[in-house]
Symmetry: C6
Subunit: 74 residues, 6 copies
Amino acid sequence: MFPTQKVKSLVGKFIQVEMKGEQNILVGKLESVDDYMNLLLSETSEYRDGEKIRTLGSVVLRGNNIILIQPFKE
Amino acid sequence: MFPTQKVKSLVGKFIQVEMKGEQNILVGKLESVDDYMNLLLSETSEYRDGEKIRTLGSVVLRGNNIILIQPFKE
Amino acid sequence: MFPTQKVKSLVGKFIQVEMKGEQNILVGKLESVDDYMNLLLSETSEYRDGEKIRTLGSVVLRGNNIILIQPFKE
Amino acid sequence: MFPTQKVKSLVGKFIQVEMKGEQNILVGKLESVDDYMNLLLSETSEYRDGEKIRTLGSVVLRGNNIILIQPFKE
Amino acid sequence: MFPTQKVKSLVGKFIQVEMKGEQNILVGKLESVDDYMNLLLSETSEYRDGEKIRTLGSVVLRGNNIILIQPFKE
Amino acid sequence: MFPTQKVKSLVGKFIQVEMKGEQNILVGKLESVDDYMNLLLSETSEYRDGEKIRTLGSVVLRGNNIILIQPFKE
């Protein structure tokens, strides 16, 4: 399975994302992903040191500024 | 809905944008977006910690330096 | 009007540009712009906190490192 | 052997990766790589100063934010 | 004249370049430039606060990490 | 000679590379380079202030995060 296929396989599930220029981790339900790894998340929250610090709702993340994506484990 | 379609669906509405290399959040009315997620905003303001600190008016934001886009909730 | 068209409409006028990796704002007369948003400015100056701190003359700015472009308001 | 072929030759082996915006080194088993050098790793861990500090499991790393890839030597 | 044409017009002349991730300014004779604004410089030196601090000789600079190019004025 | 040709001409020789997000300089024997300036180096070492601080062996460097490449002068 290629990296982008792996990301597509996570649609409908909660993922966590590290962004360049974001100290906190974003956790949200993956609604869609395109070939540039741009992401649409819903029910997004910001986490710092394992604690939820902010609720963001629906967000679009720019693919080229993503560092790391992984399934969310609470 | 794909991430870029989500952004296009926000044309005419106020959005908030986090840019790489900008500590503050930009809030403006989305006038247009292209396939690279370059954005044209009008009535743009800069916010820090939830407070408006500067009025910018009409701005163009370079897509590849966008971190996060979301609908603006006052 | 798309974002790049907006930038093209500013040719011949003074604009201000925030670059990644530049703390100061660049102000110059926009001579040309290409599809990557690379910019050629003339009569360029560097501004910090609203004050002109350096004169640069003719400069080329790399499009992918641009954060924000706006018309210059003195 | 070209750089991307070198990376492909490491599929099935443990590699270590330095990412932009990550102080720690990521070590994982390379499951797949695409033409953009996006990586899918399994059994991933984070290392700081040679010590494992966190277990991440399965992660996708965005190719354009990779600095350096090398075979893992314990 | 488009931005890349401007850069090409400087071949054979000394230019100064600001790079992302480089605090110092690079000054060198522009030997060649390609469509990505990758640059080949000869007789390159590093300048800090207007003083030459290091001689580098022949260097290749990666276009997408260039912030600003201008003709060198001693 | 174009910038990428210059880099190709260095295959088989030792080069030094400055990477974005790496404080140290990497020195290694250039094994191969592709059109994106991704590099495969062997016998790589990390240098800080002119002193070798670490031996890395075989590494792949991502082209878009390269700042500067030059022939290595011991």
